[in-house]
Symmetry: C2
Subunit: 361 residues, 2 copies
């Protein structure tokens, strides 16, 4: 990694076309001049956009890719159609080739995860990748994972997620020993699946080695910020994330309606304008845009597909922080410190599907 | 069921002692005079409380029970300690014996579910009971189940929950054909567990028989009110419920802080006072207090343990509505209309654990 941060951008990824990516990059670059960009996509569309911003153009390079993965394509379809050729694949490949420190895309999440897993491969010793979300809470931002990479998860996967999440917390929040909680249900008789109980046992034994194991947490502990890292499998994590988004939107609508109910309320709202504006910013999903793919040999950021340039700028900030804080090093360090991993038999790297004649090389 | 609604109250259930139950009952009774109460608990504590409210006393009866189940006890412990003898068990037994139309308790959820299942038994043909939550949305209240009775759930259980939830919607919302959605995750590659997919197939085939099957819904569809009934297993459902509660509390704190930020904001907030008051009422969890145990031979309502008399009144309203709308009849009707159930082999009733000599009776 050089002193500057090199970001590889799938410029065709979002719902709204490449303008969002380019304008988002320009907004971001103004604040972080030590960034360079590789834009992957249709050159004919990207070049005129970059021509509009000569300052950004100087630190950017366009790599042409004609194939664009749509939001509707299934991961398997996307892989068939776009492996090696699409803007999405090429953006990830730049990280693999060492040309960029981090890749970012606003495209189809399933396709992006499939391509990232295929291209970058899981880290040796980590069974499956996860998507981590940065979650604003009453205390500070926390990390929740997995929010949708895979359904289900055994104890090994949940402990892997704990290592990954703790490494991300050490990198982003500069915390030496972040606290980790396992998401579980509250009522006594059913305290969770067997996998969750087994993961708790392993984490309890490893507590202190790169993180502090807090214990079980419940859904309402997320918003309270009870721990720095909330670990769960992808089904429950995705439902928690989407339910929270839905609830925030619902309460936001209640507020708007309440303050428009009559002329007095409108007057009050107008007077309290600045405070309500600040509140709106706080609830603006564009400011917390971006999921982090963890557990692969390289960092990939997923931006919301429907976001605008402000949202894309937010996702770029996250990508920049990930690279700057050397999260990959932190993950390696976390794995070395984790006791059960060091005694576990080495897990064989999956065979590279791209080449089969590699043995003699 | 007589013309009046008879409610059996575990008066020792909540965190705050029997006063909450008695005062909540009085608040409720003032609005619904055709209600009578059986209060189960320590007579020495209950009698002086009822003496304070002579009007309520006239429609109430105290049944002494010295054993109180604590919030910390595990369901198995609670059953050993309190079967037949505790205020919680006695409150449920009143429903079984036909002395009350519905039972209510603010006690330990796990213990209450264990006792209710043991005492009332699951409805023949329904594999497991569920806890249903009434969830306020941008459209109207909807039903979400299971929010924590059991972890995990196969296709049969998920379809059972759909029958139960649809019956509750027909009863409470007076809808002939409520819409039912299966909670699932969004990203294409992982569309849910096999159980969810199998349940979708069964519900699709049965759509029109007591409900309309809408398809998969995601976490953010809950707050939108996309469907009348959201069906999921207890782990994901409990996490969704708690996460939403946490998010609502978080946003509420944001609002309070924003409107206290400076003197101008406070002035605005004061002027918009009525609107903000209405909003606070809308977000007040006491008004949506209560979970419904479904799938047993009798209706049991769980009130929040930490609630006050206003919250307990809300839970009593729900209990009253459940009895008034004859939800048990609606469930039976829903089961008769559901095609896969009518062709399924009859499920044998579990042996009654209370008595083993009952054959000749």
């Amino acid at each position: 990694m050089s002193d500057s941060i090199r970001i590889s951008v799938d410029a065709m990824g979002g719902d709204k076309g490449p303008r969002v990516a380019v304008e988002g990059a320009r907004l971001f670059w103004r604040e972080r001049k030590n960034t360079t960009f590789i834009f992957h996509g249709r050159e004919a569309e990207l070049k005129p956009l970059l021509d509009e911003f000569p300052d950004l153009k100087k630190v950017s390079r366009i790599v042409n890719a004609d194939i664009v993965i749509s939001m509707e394509e299934k991961p398997s379809q996307a892989l068939r159609k776009g492996r090696g050729t699409s803007s999405m694949w090429a953006a990830i490949q730049s990280v693999k080739d060492g040309e960029a420190d981090v890749a970012i895309s606003g495209g189809n999440t399933g396709a992006l995860m499939a391509m990232a897993t295929f291209c970058l491969r899981p880290i040796e010793g980590i069974s499956r990748p996860a998507i981590a979300a940065l979650w604003p809470t009453l205390r500070t931002d926390i990390i929740v994972l997995d929010v949708g990479a895979t359904v289900g998860g055994d104890a090994k996967q949940l402990t892997d997620f704990s290592i990954l999440g703790a490494a991300l917390a050490r990198a982003l929040f500069d915390q030496e020993l972040p606290t980790v909680g396992l998401l579980n249900v509250g009522t006594e008789e059913m305290k969770g699946h067997d996998e969750v109980k087994e993961a708790a046992r392993i984490l309890q034994a490893a507590s202190g080695e790169g993180f502090i194991y807090h214990g079980f947490v419940e859904g309402d502990d997320i918003g309270k910020g009870t721990v720095d890292v909330v670990v769960t499998e992808g089904f429950a994590g995705n439902i928690a994330l989407k339910t929270a988004e839905g609830t925030a939107r619902q309460v936001g609508a209640y507020i708007r309606n309440a303050l428009k109910a009559d002329i007095i309320s409108m007057l009050g709202a107008a007077i309290a304008g600045q405070a309500l504006q600040a509140l709106r910013r706080k609830l603006d999903p564009r400011n917390i845009n971006g999921g982090v793919f963890l557990g692969l040999n390289g960092v990939v950021i997923k931006s919301h597909g429907g976001t605008d340039e402000v949202g894309f700028k937010g996702a770029l900030s996250l990508a920049y922080e990930m690279a700057r804080s050397r999260v990959m090093d932190k993950i390696g360090e976390g794995m070395r410190r984790f006791p059960t991993l060091s005694v576990a038999p080495p897990i064989e790297a999956a065979p590279a599907p791209e080449k089969t004649e590699a043995k003699s090389a």
